[in-house]
């Protein structure tokens, strides 16, 4: 099939690309744009490591065709913080709470958490756990991740800041 021209808006920057229609968003992000913060843990949509936000909704970028993302607004882990010098409150909480060990699941976890808090700014612990149920972690046992998200939610609510 012929290659297609697409435009991706990633972390606020516009990219004009020509891609095979079969290529996945994760591969275009990682290989063509050099945004390797999005990880591949299974390439089957089971582990959540490749989670990105598309028009504010979390998606598995390994199951999303790049052509589906045409003219969509995509946020990857590299684009979450306000500036390269800052950490987003979720990122800060992950570091401070020991919610990161090997770090391979962290980008996807954080973006799933971002989706959750955007839709439910004051989640209960149970809701946080549900919100993370599509993201696997093998190091932390999840509890520190859950704590970090709860703490970030509180801090974001207190500062009145949308993430």
């Amino acid at each position: 099939m012929a290659k297609q021209n697409i435009e991706l808006i990633v972390n606020g920057d516009r990219y004009q690309l020509t891609v095979e229609p079969s290529r996945m968003l994760v591969d275009v992000l990682r290989e063509d744009l050099g945004l390797t913060g999005t990880k591949i843990g299974c390439a089957q949509g089971d582990c959540g490591a490749c989670t990105v936000l598309m028009d504010g909704v979390s998606v598995s970028s390994c199951l999303t065709l790049a052509v589906e993302a045409h003219q969509r607004d995509i946020t990857t882990i590299e684009g979450l913080a306000a500036s390269p010098q800052d950490l987003h409150p979720l990122q800060e909480a992950f570091v401070q709470h020991g919610a990161v060990q090997c770090g391979y699941c962290s980008p996807g976890m954080i973006l799933s958490a971002k989706h959750l808090l955007d839709h439910n700014p004051k989640p209960s612990e149970e809701e946080i756990r549900q919100g993370l149920s599509g993201n696997l972690c093998r190091c932390t046992g999840y509890n520190k991740i859950v704590e970090a998200i709860g703490d970030a939610a509180e801090k974001m609510a207190a500062s009145g800041k949308e993430g």
């Binding site: 089971d46 582990c47 699941c105 190091c139 932390t140 046992g141």
Partner: protein
């Protein structure tokens, strides 16, 4: 001397910000100009002769740059147990025959991944099928087909431990029981699939970036299999997305990438898929365990006969170590007048089992701890009381193995009894609910030099600079467990400088001092920590004279290094800044930098480990007797990890271990058909606990001071993967009367035991 305040602090990981912003690089994030993409052709059969391979069509495909088979590579076998050369039984690509579904047969590299994939499909292989051996029982039966022709009846290694008069002790026993247990295979399931990138250099040299927990082992074995001097191979790692024992050997893709990079003159990268990992990757050994124990009627443990067959799969991998440690942990925790272990590592036509968090101990403890609970019930003694009666203590000697230099086991038992509400809850049993206990001990690094290294087991190089900063160079590996932070905490404590003033150079075999054997057996904090303390001590020896001569000090004074100052301990006002002291020392050295190396090798520490951790865990479960579903409501843990260097890091290890232990007990299992093909090759079918499955936990640190450890530290986190499965098994039994003797505990087994299904 008081412990520096940085020891024991919950310092967040120093690589945390890079990891949460996506800036941290993992091997598959690397690429080089001109890089080729490698792929492996694997055997579809579990046991077969290769009668013909034709790669000509693959080679002719445009874009393909190299195709190799077993016939093209140096005929050198490898394996981690270099001390026993006949145990080295593996080749990167199969020669003559394949021994498991997934055994690597050929490798290709091409200009892109799709071309490499098409090339694989053009390789023609003809096989002649051989009988397939899928269990240790079949493998050891009379006349069984041999997985390796050289083995005796498919047994690749035997380990025996024998002390005390076993027969006499059994004769003395009032109570004897014999049980058999079976434990199943599970996988590390680290989130980062294996990946490597090799780049050839001038003069037959090669650099390899690889997702490994043992760069030094990979360097040595890669050199021997490539037929190159060790120094021609440089192994580096970037961030590693988990290992848990699954990344501690030379792997076929590391060899193939390096070999083809040398042949093509271009960088070559291989990255595995999750299906590769689940279907063909290393795993924890399945075992068949027979255990006979003898007790006096008042609960004194007298004798144990422990016989184990480990399902090793097609190659030895780290199986010999698992065979040793299974024997060691079949009798740890309690004092036995007599113990006999007979462990056999058995070849089968399955993907090789290897090291996995606990290294033979989770299986041994599942049997030993479950049996302990059975004995307690039979003798009418509380399971914690029975353990307390027999528990090891500081100073106890395990013949031929070790002297226990610190042991908080009894305290752990008392603590877990208290925090779990053990006595009260057991006194008021509720239908469908149960409380169960499992205990553990684990090593803090290994003593036995199976890799046959000529170097020290651990090494560190410390440099200090006139701006008051320092550099630590070490081969020690952070694969997520945290030593990049913990080791710098130790150096910061020694030099009295802030942790952020220490730059770390790690895991590069060409620039960090020889050697560190890597991350396995919970060795890094103790061994590399000790090497750092020795190196820092030498640096301080270079700096101290500056203070003595500058301040005209009497030589009896003790000099302290704290808060970025070097000063007289008895009179802290007398001193100077650390930076100034380094500057002045440099002035006196005619330009020679202040550099020192420290080393650690355990000596006179028995056969197994210089130090042992201990602990006890209680699981509280609820079983739905209608569906058989088991919900772990809470986990209580009390453990002795010596002095924790980083409290948050220890907690993280504990919580992660519970996730793995829970999966092991209740849901994870690699399922195979009768042809040796793994059926669950996705995370949808290989079930691991998610955030929703994790119970809350409560824990207590039992602080002991381990004299052999840096600042009193010892193992933390690996041993904690051991007690969860037996604790849950016990709790399910208390709740339902069903005792699992063959893991995992599934709803189906519960319902069958309750007579709800046939």
């Amino acid at each position: 001397m008081k412990t520096p305040s940085i020891i024991g602090q919950s310092i967040p990981r120093l690589d945390g910000p890079a990891k949460v912003t996506g800036r941290a690089l993992y091997t598959n994030d690397l690429s080089l100009p001109g890089m080729l993409y490698g792929k492996l052709l694997r055997s579809p059969l579990a046991h077969a002769k290769i009668t013909r391979i034709d790669v000509s069509r693959a080679k002719a495909l445009p874009g393909v740059k190299d195709v190799i088979t077993g016939a093209d590579i140096p005929q050198v076998k490898y394996g981690n147990w270099r001390l026993v050369p006949q145990s080295q039984d593996e080749m990167a690509l199969a020669v003559d025959k394949v021994r498991f579904v997934g055994d690597e047969v050929a490798a290709v590299c091409a200009i892109d991944a799709d071309t490499a994939q098409r090339a694989l499909e053009l390789i023609e292989v003809e096989y002649e099928e051989l009988p397939v051996i899928l269990s240790v029982e079949e493998a050891t039966a009379e006349g069984a087909a041999l997985v390796h022709d050289e083995s005796e009846g498919n047994v690749s290694l035997v380990r025996k431990i024998d002390y005390g008069d076993l027969e006499a002790m059994f004769a003395k026993a009032d109570y004897i029981r014999e049980d058999t247990f079976k434990v199943h295979p599970v996988q590390h399931a680290y989130m980062e699939p294996c990946s490597c990138l090799a780049a050839s250099e001038e003069g037959d040299r090669v650099s390899l970036w690889t997702s490994t927990q043992t760069p030094y082992i990979v360097q040595c074995l890669l050199a021997s299999t490539l037929g190159l001097p060790e120094n021609n191979v440089r192994v580096m790692k970037v961030q590693v997305g988990g290992g848990f024992g699954g990344k501690m050997e030379l792997r076929p893709w590391e060899f193939c990438a390096s070999f083809m990079s040398l042949r093509t003159g271009r960088p070559v990268k291989f990255t595995l898929t999750r299906a590769d990992e689940l279907a063909f990757g290393r795993r924890r050994h399945a075992m068949s365990i027979y255990s006979k124990v003898g007790f006096s009627k008042d609960g004194k443990l007298l004798a144990k006969d422990f016989q184990v067959m480990l399902d090793g799969g097609a190659y030895n991998a780290m199986g010999p170590t698992a065979t040793f440690l299974c024997g060691t942990f079949g009798n740890m925790l309690y004092n036995y007048p007599a113990y006999r272990y007979f462990g056999r590592h058995v070849y089968t036509n399955k993907p090789p089992a290897s090291a996995m968090r606990g290294f033979g101990a989770p299986q041994a403890a599942f049997a030993a701890e479950t049996q302990m609970n059975m004995v307690a019930e039979e003798l009418g003694i509380d399971p914690i009381d029975l353990r307390l009666m027999n528990a090891m203590q500081t100073g106890d000697v395990i013949p031929d193995v070790a002297t226990i230099s610190s042991c908080g086991f009894k305290e752990s038992l008392e603590k877990v009894r208290q925090i779990s509400g053990w006595d009260e809850k057991r006194g008021n049993p509720k239908p469908g609910k149960g409380l169960g206990i499992g205990c553990f001990s684990f090593i803090s690094g290994g003593v036995f030099n199976w890799f046959n290294t000529k170097y020290n087991f651990s090494a560190a190089e410390v440099k200090v600079f006139e701006d008051g900063t320092a550099q630590l160079a070490t081969m020690a590996c952070d694969i997520g467990q945290g030593p990049d932070t913990v080791l710098r905490q130790i150096l910061a404590a020694e030099l009295g400088i802030p942790i952020d003033k220490i730059r770390l150079i790690s895991m590069d075999t060409a620039t960090t001092p020889k050697a560190d054997l890597g991350t396995w057996g919970s060795r890094v904090t103790l061994m590399n920590g000790n090497a750092i303390i020795e190196a820092a001590g030498k640096i301080k020896d270079m700096l101290r004279p500056v203070l003595f001569s500058e301040l005209d000090l009497n030589q009896i004074h003790d000099v302290a290094f704290e808060d970025e100052r070097v000063f007289v301990r008895a009179n802290p006002k007398k001193g100077m800044g650390f930076a100034e002291c380094v500057y002045k020392a440099l002035r006196g050295r005619e330009g020679e930098p202040l550099t020192a190396r420290g080393y650690y090798t355990p000596r006179n520490k028995g056969l197994v480990s210089p130090a042992f951790s201990f602990g006890a865990q209680v699981a509280e479960v609820e079983v739905d007797t209608g569906t058989g579903l088991i919900r772990v409501e809470k986990m209580y843990t009390a453990h002795d990890c010596g002095v924790p260097i980083n409290k948050m890091s220890v907690e993280g290890q504990l919580e992660g271990a519970i996730q793995m232990g829970l999966g092991y007990a209740l849901m994870e299992n690699l399922i195979m058909d009768d042809k040796g093909r793994t059926l669950n090759t996705t995370f949808l079918d290989y079930k691991m606990p998610t955030a929703e499955d994790m119970p809350p936990g409560e824990s207590a640190d039992v602080i002991t001071y381990e004299p052999e450890g840096p600042y009193g530290a010892k193992e933390a986190g690996e041993g904690l993967a051991i007690p969860t499965a037996p604790a849950i098994t016990h709790a399910v039994h208390q709740a339902t009367g069903y005792r699992c003797m063959e893991t995992p505990i599934t709803p189906e087994k519960v319902l069958r035991a309750l007579g709800k299904i046939k």
